[in-house]
């Protein structure tokens, strides 16, 4: 039976009804009512009645309204399922990737979009086990202007462009110039990005890094003795100016040391105990000094947690964190915690 456009109720003799309608002993009549959907039939309502009577006028109105609402609800639910499936497929391309296991280098990453209902945003990161002439791997972490889905679509474009430029990863400046050219060609001055390129390779138990920042917060190096170093690696942001400059810095990580890449959603989290303060670079470094020797997963999570808890229930920007560590040799003890932390309590476990 066609359910759309709506058709009047059809009455069947009980013996005409298919078996699945139910073996109602003594069913007097069976009514089939189409459930109108969004331009397509949404289904049918089958009512079995003991007596052979047809509907009264009131019943007819009730059944028609019920069919209208039920059909509409089913059609909306079906639409929702379809759209969710489409979103899922499109989203898969934009979701942050899992960090691969690499030989001699440990990676960890965390990502948290700004909106509570969102899964993607304007921050992104990618990990390429093989880049450039093949000796190094590459991590990219970046932040495009804007938030939400529109920003996420732009990150998708930038990530694809960078993937195509991977063979040039030995020369960060060249890679950035080409990306700059692509974004300038869009002719939309609001589409710009800041990012960090981190090429790295294992060198015995150590990890050698080349870091370039294009208008992005400087990478931080966590040394085993608790020192936290800022890597200057300054450069212009991408997608605004014709000519860009960049500086690539080399850093060597000893076993147990970590390079931290992050987006400004971490340091610009606003909140804290008083509600309106910036989390800030200084607070981040102070916290990191107490985290020397932490495994990368724990560290990435700690950084994201500190910023998120700082922001509390208030709004925050997208947050992305990637850690690149030289693994500690098996069985080697972590360094003693540098200095006792000041007294504090709360938050770690409930009574």
């Amino acid at each position: 039976m066609r359910g759309f456009p709506p058709v009047p109720t059809r009455w069947l003799a009980p013996q005409e009804a298919p078996g699945w309608v139910g073996p109602e002993e003594g069913a007097g009549s069976v009514a089939v009512i189409a459930l109108p959907g969004h331009g397509l039939p949404a289904g049918a309502l089958v009512l079995v009645r003991r007596s052979g009577e047809r509907f009264t006028a009131d019943e007819r109105v009730f059944v028609r309204l019920f069919a209208l609402w039920a059909g509409s609800a089913i059609a909306v639910a079906r639409l929702y399922v379809e759209q969710a499936a489409i979103t899922e497929t499109l989203m898969a391309e934009l979701l942050p990737p899992a960090t691969p296991a690499l030989d001699g280098v440990e990676l960890a990453a965390r990502y948290r979009p700004a909106g509570p209902g969102e899964r993607v945003g304007g921050d992104f990161y990618d990990v390429y086990p093989v880049a450039g002439s093949g000796r190094e791997s590459l991590v990219v972490l970046g932040d495009v202007a804007g938030k939400g889905l529109e920003a996420a679509v732009l990150t998708g474009r930038i990530r694809n462009t960078l993937r195509a430029l991977l063979p040039l990863a030995d020369d960060h400046q060249r890679m950035l110039e080409l990306l700059n050219g692509v974004l300038l060609n869009d002719g939309d001055p609001t589409r710009y990005v800041t990012l960090v390129l981190a090429s790295f390779q294992r060198r015995g138990p150590r990890v050698a890094l080349r870091l370039t920042s294009a208008g992005h917060p400087a990478p931080l190096i966590m040394r085993n003795d608790g020192r936290v170093e800022t890597v200057p690696a300054v450069g212009t942001l991408i997608g605004v100016l014709e000519d860009i400059t960049s500086v690539t810095d080399a850093v060597l990580l000893e076993p147990g040391e970590t390079c931290l890449l992050y987006s400004d959603g971490i340091t610009e989290a606003r909140g804290g105990p008083l509600g309106r303060e910036l989390f800030g670079d200084e607070r981040l470094c102070e916290q990191l000094r107490q985290c020397a020797g932490m495994p990368p997963e724990a560290l990435a999570e700690r950084v994201q947690m500190l910023a998120s808890e700082w922001a509390g229930e208030g709004e925050h920007d997208d947050m992305a964190v990637v850690t690149i560590s030289a693994p500690r040799a098996p069985g080697e003890e972590p360094p003693p915690a540098p200095g006792e932390e000041p007294p504090r309590a709360g938050g770690e476990e409930a009574p």
Binding site: Y80, V81, A84, P116, G117, R119, G272, P273, L274, G275, R276, E286, Q290, C291, A292, G293, M294, P295, E297, A298, E301, R302, M305, S308, E309, E313, R328, P330, G331, E333, P334, A337, E341, P342, P343, R344, A345, G346, G347, E348, E349, A350, P351
Partner: protein
């Protein structure tokens, strides 16, 4: 076999606190290879070590960094166990689907992760959504997967208002909720108050409960929902930041020692005051002063372990009370907590 449990706890503890993921994973896989059942390993070894991590941190025998390191290593152990050959990875035929998630804002994912692994080991199809799941995500997931039940975990009582939202949203989507974690009170009283369909004190009980058949629904009882957020709760939530600032001003005047505090010590103190306000709000939300008293008792023990005298907590409670005239329920809650201290 069970004779090995204590030694394995010690070995895992040593590996986890040393941040040695490989050694920790070896302890766990060796135990399985030796025939220890997965559930025993999860609950009597891994969970036992994790709860010790929390206690040792509270007693100031582990630093925050060590606590996080150990927790991260334990998480990695759980991840590694998922790939052990004895582990059945496909859901058993006839078993249903359970969603396991933490309340929005809740960072302590370990208990939920543990439950997810226990349920998987028992043959359920488990969707583990992880820490701090925004409620809209959770509900969207329920609509798409239509699970038999959702298990919601929360460790900190300050998440109870968010838990209330999540529980009612899941039930509105037609999925019954089992709540678990320290936030819901030692006897699960807040789980009942917030209308959860069931409560479990630990992962084993939760798994037994789910195995016993469909959860009895609480939500269908046609009663008017209870309004928990009253004026005091709402006002306190709105003004929490400025209240903490005012209390800090009062404290600097009242506690002479604070004149010598470093900036960081002052900030830690402000964070502690903010926790007091958060737990006070939670106590107002669930209408139970005992929630706040228990937190104050725990906080005092954590602070005294770090050389902060009990009098500092009393001073903070008094400063709060001084700023909360016109909040009779809050004042009663503060007074009650004060009497439980020395």
């Amino acid at each position: 076999m069970s004779g090995g449990v204590e030694e394995r706890v010690e070995a895992l503890w040593a590996a986890a606190t040393a941040g040695d993921e490989r050694a920790a994973t070896r302890v766990a896989t060796d135990a399985l290879d030796a025939g220890l059942p997965m559930e025993t390993l999860l609950l009597d070894v891994v969970a036992a070590v994790q709860s010790r991590v929390g206690h040792e941190w509270a007693a100031n025998r582990l630093s925050v960094a060590q606590e996080h390191t150990a927790t991260a290593v334990n998480e990695r152990v759980l991840a590694a166990l998922a790939h052990h050959p004895t582990r059945q990875n496909d859901p058993a035929p006839g078993m249903g689907r359970i969603v396991v998630a933490c309340i929005d804002g809740e960072w302590h994912a370990f208990p939920a992760r543990l439950l997810a692994e226990v349920l998987r080991a028992r043959g359920w199809h488990v969707d583990y959504l992880g820490a701090q799941v925004p409620t809209p995500h959770l509900v969207a997931h329920l609509h798409l997967t239509n699970p038999d039940a959702v298990a919601l975990s929360s460790s900190l009582a300050i998440r109870l208002p968010a838990a209330h939202t999540a529980i009612s949203a899941c039930q509105a989507a037609g999925t019954p909720v089992v709540a678990g974690g320290a936030a819901f009170g030692p006897d699960g009283r807040y789980a009942r108050l917030l209308g959860a369909d069931a409560w479990a004190p630990d992962a084993r009980t939760a798994a037994d409960l789910l195995a016993a058949g469909p959860l009895p629904r609480q939500a269908t009882s046609g009663e008017e929902p209870r309004q928990l957020a009253d004026r005091e709760y709402t006002d306190l939530t709105r003004s929490a930041g400025s209240l903490v600032g005012a209390v800090m001003d009062d404290l600097t005047r009242r506690v002479p020692a604070m004149a010598g505090y470093t900036e960081q010590q002052l900030e830690r103190t402000a964070e502690d005051v903010a926790y007091l306000v958060d737990f006070l709000r939670a106590a107002l939300y669930v209408h139970d002063p005992e929630l706040f008293s228990a937190f104050v008792g725990w906080m005092t023990s954590v602070l005294t372990a770090r050389g902060v005298p009990e009098s500092a907590v009393l001073a903070a409670l008094d400063a709060l009370a001084g700023r909360l005239t016109g909040f009779p329920r809050a004042l009663g809650t503060l007074a009650r907590a004060r009497t439980t201290l020395g």
